[in-house]
């Protein structure tokens, strides 16, 4: 278990080092990236198989007991997200070679992509708040490099917004962590949660509430929530197509994941956070989808859609409780797959037709691409029996069950507006007759990365029952802070801190 839990982080980092060493051969770099991400997928699946919905696995790095050392804890959610993250990187690398047939992307492309994967897996696995911060930094810096890599002025401008706002998020996160450590004396998530619970019961959890306020803003910026999402629409349409697909699938979701952990484990029972999130969630849904409705470029439309979907997720987190979190888990996985897929297709449209919808036309002759677009688009709009339907239903059902009818109403309106812009893309790119006829074909192999993800969407929709059962047990487990704490068996290991005096390096000029 030790190796299984840590290797989704080590493997990509090792891969990045290796790829960096092979910098003169783009083909071997791509092969390394493919094999590494495939390895992460395999590890993720084995973790998932071993854990199911109820299981937990821990490795205490360096053998040091929590909270003195850092632990990685994998529950079903972490395992699933690790798997999906590996899959997205795998698909993106394959897409770049098979679908776009781009030449050398630069010798740092694959190492950076792998570093990003390592960071994302680290964020999904760690059970320590400061360690989470570290992986956030890995993600931020590697994504920044990927974003600005081609050095076009549009990309540089975008990356300024991106880095500025995300650095603010990091700073807030760090200040919040300082306060958390100052108050709770620990940075292990479940321990902070337990101390917060005890302090709230005693009526003095207020100082931790302040720290959580900072974490909340930091995670909300990372997730792209209203009104802090400015960095997202400013940047997502600028990088190369494979990169923006990876961003679309993974980056904001790390923020959402952190919000899940914050509300359930770090700050259990902090109702004010959820009340704030209700408002944020609804506004994010609406503002995102309205932003999408008025855009005229494929990737910009899709970028704003990410925001609106983040709103769904935040609303689900805000509702809280095992059922709602289960719905969020389902939605999260569905969303990553679908969104990446749409950006992949959007990249093809962009490449062959241009960014604006008025120039994208007549792609219907590429039947496979049409399918590869329609499946995720309809899934996103929540058309049954695709995965988006069960996902949306879960959130709406949880909202109705919690008598949050405002969320129900906003979610439904957002659904209609989502369909509106998906149809806008579809009609413009696939139905409108082209000015000049496309001669060459876009065959099975070129479409395969997108079709693969589309198939996953269909399967997840049809097998919604098992997936929902699994996410239900994950949702229940996540709320069980004690389970995570007991796992580390803290009480037995860290006792009697009576330091020998000379052990402290003190007052040495």
């Amino acid at each position: 278990m030790n190796a299984l839990v840590v290797s989704p982080i080590l493997l990509p980092l090792l891969g990045a080092v290796l790829a960096l060493a092979w910098r003169n051969s783009p083909a071997s770099q791509a092969r390394i990236a493919l094999w590494t991400s495939a390895g992460v997928i395999v590890i993720g699946i084995s973790l998932l198989a071993a854990l199911g919905g109820h299981g937990l696995a821990i490795t205490q790095l360096g053998g040091w007991p929590v909270p003195a050392g850092i632990a990685l804890v994998s529950d079903g959610l972490s395992a699933a997200l690790v798997t999906i993250a590996g899959l997205m990187i795998f698909t993106a690398v394959a897409y770049r070679r098979l679908s776009l047939r781009e030449s050398d992307p630069g010798h740092c492309f694959h190492p950076l992509l792998l570093a990003l994967l390592g960071g994302v897996c680290g964020a999904f696995l760690t059970a320590d708040l400061f360690n989470l911060f570290v992986w956030f930094e890995v993600i931020l810096i590697s994504s920044f490099a990927l974003l600005a890599m081609e050095g076009r002025s549009q990309q540089i401008r975008a990356s300024v917004s991106y880095v500025l706002l995300n650095l603010i998020a990091s700073a807030l996160f760090l200040i919040g962590l300082g306060l958390v450590y100052g108050k709770a004396g620990t940075l292990a998530m479940a321990d902070v949660g337990l101390i917060y619970q005890q302090a709230s019961a005693a009526g003095n959890g207020g100082s931790l509430d302040l720290a959580f306020a900072l974490l909340l803003v930091a995670f909300a910026i990372k997730a792209g929530a209203f009104p802090l999402y400015a960095w997202l629409p400013a940047s997502y349409h600028t990088p190369s197509h494979a990169v923006s697909a990876v961003f679309a699938g993974l980056l904001t979701k790390v923020g959402v994941y952190a919000l899940i952990r914050l509300t359930t484990q770090v700050a259990p029972g902090a109702d004010w956070i959820r009340e704030v999130l209700v408002v944020i969630g609804m506004l994010t849904m609406l503002m995102g989808v309205l932003g999408a409705a008025c855009q005229s470029e494929v990737r910009r439309i899709l970028s704003y859609h990410i925001i609106s979907q983040i709103g769904y997720l935040i609303a689900g987190i805000a509702i809280g409780g095992p059922t709602a979190i289960a719905a969020v888990v389902f939605y999260l996985i569905h969303h990553i797959v679908v969104k990446t897929n749409l950006f992949l297709v959007g990249g093809i449209i962009d490449r062959h037709r241009g960014a604006t919808l008025s120039r994208a036309a007549g792609l219907a002759s590429w039947t496979l691409l049409t399918i590869a677009f329609l499946v995720p688009a309809l899934s996103l709009a929540g058309i049954p029996p695709l995965s988006g339907f069960a996902a949306k239903l879960g959130i709406i059902h949880a909202a109705a069950g919690a008598e949050r009818y405002g969320i129900v109403a906003v979610a439904l309106i957002t659904g209609l507006l989502t369909l509106y812009s998906m149809i806008k893309i579809y009609i413009a790119a696939f139905w409108t007759p082209p000015e000049r006829v496309v001669r060459h074909r876009f065959g099975l192999i070129r479409t395969s990365p997108m079709l693969g993800l589309a198939a996953l969407t269909v399967v997840m929709g049809l097998a919604a029952g098992p997936v929902a059962n699994w996410s239900q047990s994950v949702g229940t487990l996540i709320h069980n802070v004690d389970a995570y704490r007991r796992l580390a068996q803290v009480e037995t290991q860290i006792a009697e801190p009576t330091p020998p005096h000379d052990a402290l390096v003190r007052s040495q000029p």
């Binding site: 600005a148 050095g151 706002l165 306020a213 400015a230």
Partner: protein, 755 residues
Amino acid sequence: MPASLLLAAIALPLCVAPALPALTRRFGWRTSWLAALVAGLSAAFTMAAGLGADWSYQWLPSLGPALALSLDGFGLLMSALIGGIGAAILIYAGGYSRHDPHLGRLLAWLVVFVAAMQALVLADDLLLLFAAWEVTSFASFMLVGHSTHLAEARAAARRALLVTAGGGLCLLGGVVLLADAAGTWRLSELAVMTDHSLYPAIAILFIVAAATKSAQFPFHFWLPGAMCAPTPVSAYLHSATMVKAGIVLLVRMQPSLSGSAWWELPLLIAGGLTIVVAAWRCAVAVDLKALLAGTTLIALGCMTVLAGIATPSAMAALVVFLLAHALYKAAAFMLAGAIDHGAGTRDLRVLAGLRRAMPWSAGLAGVIGLSLLGLAPSASFVAKELLLAVAIESGPLVVILFGLAAISFAFAAVRVCWAPFAGRPSSRAEHAHEVDRASLIAIAMVAIPALALGPLLAAAHAVLEPAVAAAGGTITAYQLGLWHGVSAPLVIGLFAITSGLIAGLLLHRRLRAWLRTPRWWDAAAWHDALWVHLVALAKRLTETMAAGGPRAAAALCLAVTALLVLGVIVTDPERLPLPAWNADASPLDLAALALTLLGAGGCIAARSRMAAVCALGAVGTGVTLIFLAHSAPDLAVTQFLVEVLTVLLVMLAFRRLSDGISDSGSKLIRAGVALSIGATVFVLVLVAQGTQLGQPVGAWHAAAAIPEGHGRNVVNVILVDFRAFDTLGEIAVLAIAAIGAGVLLARHRKLEPAT
């Protein structure tokens, strides 16, 4: 076995549909016969399954909804109509669209549609009902937009989808609320909900859903627009089946939701207004299909009104009318398509004298005309009798509405089934030709039953009774008979037919002039305008959010932080244990403080980048001093070295830039944001001084450094051992940053070669 037959009725068309495009490429239009066979089989399967058959599969057990099918009388009737009419129309499509290069796609979506409709009428689960509903909406979108090269078709398809999907979302809302309120997803287990606190919302949501699908006022506009679809599509979706989905929904929900003003009034108002508006549309229509679309709207309006009345006799009339209308209206649409093909136009003003060129069509037109008129012995005559009887029970307003409907039907019968064939052949008629045999067979397949069923209805009472009963109605064999003596319904009906005939034969031109639609009265334009305005609003909002660029966004983030922290403090100030003011500072502390303040002030005042960087370096040195003063030599060394290196690197980088600081934007706002975030952090630092809530883990680190970590320098042991994983991540960050910077610098050099 019955269970799997039910499933097969849906699965068979669903499985065959994807293969149809390929088959059509191979076998051409003949594939339509296969498609028709599939549709027919799907109806045969449900019939073979027999009443009471059911099937279910736990699709989402954690939430409760299942894929549950069950067959009651109403479902059986609808299923037979869907399969039977579907078969006829698929045959017709093979003839009508023989030269369409995308015939395969057309057939495939029509067959998908058959499956979705079967699922809709067989569903015993609210969620499956909704799922089927959405699939019909989407299939309809694909079919209305079939002629993708026509901008008009694309617009109509989009409009149809937005309206029906909007209704679909209302349905989803209603379904979720209803399931939550009733505690079950099964249709057959729903209790009467009128006393529930959510009942009004649920009822309205379901009614809106039904109104969008069945094109009831104010959502009626999408249906005439959808007429730009190929005629088989119009005949199937927009007359016989899809538009009936709304009615099916009302029928299914009527047991648990009817019986209050929340149900009755909206349905009466929507149905009534639809009848009036559509009658107007009929009177001014110049297009054959537009006229038929108008009568479809009227028929749906009548059914909506009946569902609103919801008495047993009203539900009975609804079921019989639904049956009759589905048959004759499909036939009438196919006839319209035949005329369109034969004569090359659908313009009622120029169609005349086709009887010689199209004798078979003319004969079938006569058959359809009788049904459309509502004359004995057609099934629609029986239906009309029942309708008017209900109207007389329910009051004069309903009598007027149904009378108007009957007049419009008669008017349409004359204009569609008589006028194009009668009179002197126009120039068009000379070039007209009879349509192909497949089309004629298809028309006959539904037109003749529509007429012949009338006398048989009474005999078929035993078959029809379960359907009526399942819809919540009661009916006797006598009521299904053709002759009940000279009764009020008969008199009203004859009067209406006479008026309709007069209007259709003599007054139609004048009607068109009198009733010219005012320009503002175009619901489709209203709908489009609504979206245009919504998008404009969205644009304004989005631009407001993005205005000001990254700087404004950063300020917003900081302001939100300050507000949130302030909010937490204000909502419960007593929870925050602020420490007592501790003022004993050492001289080193004071020196560090002074240096830091000086640096910060210098940074603000700096007029050049270099000066600002140096000032920041001073701040860093101040921090170094603080570390030194508080016994953290490791941190001090590192901090100092990092400061030196940062200043060096930044200066190296800044040599390339112009050495001025751009100074735009309001200083006041920036100062405000800076001060508020500074104050926030100050408060946080104060709070951090307060009492500890938990044992600090640092003490353990200090204790364990030598025995466990084999090192006296606790900081180093933490960095390379206790929390080495953090360090690993951080050095990875450093490496990535260096790589990224290297890439950017290399690009930069390539793009703008250094001089």
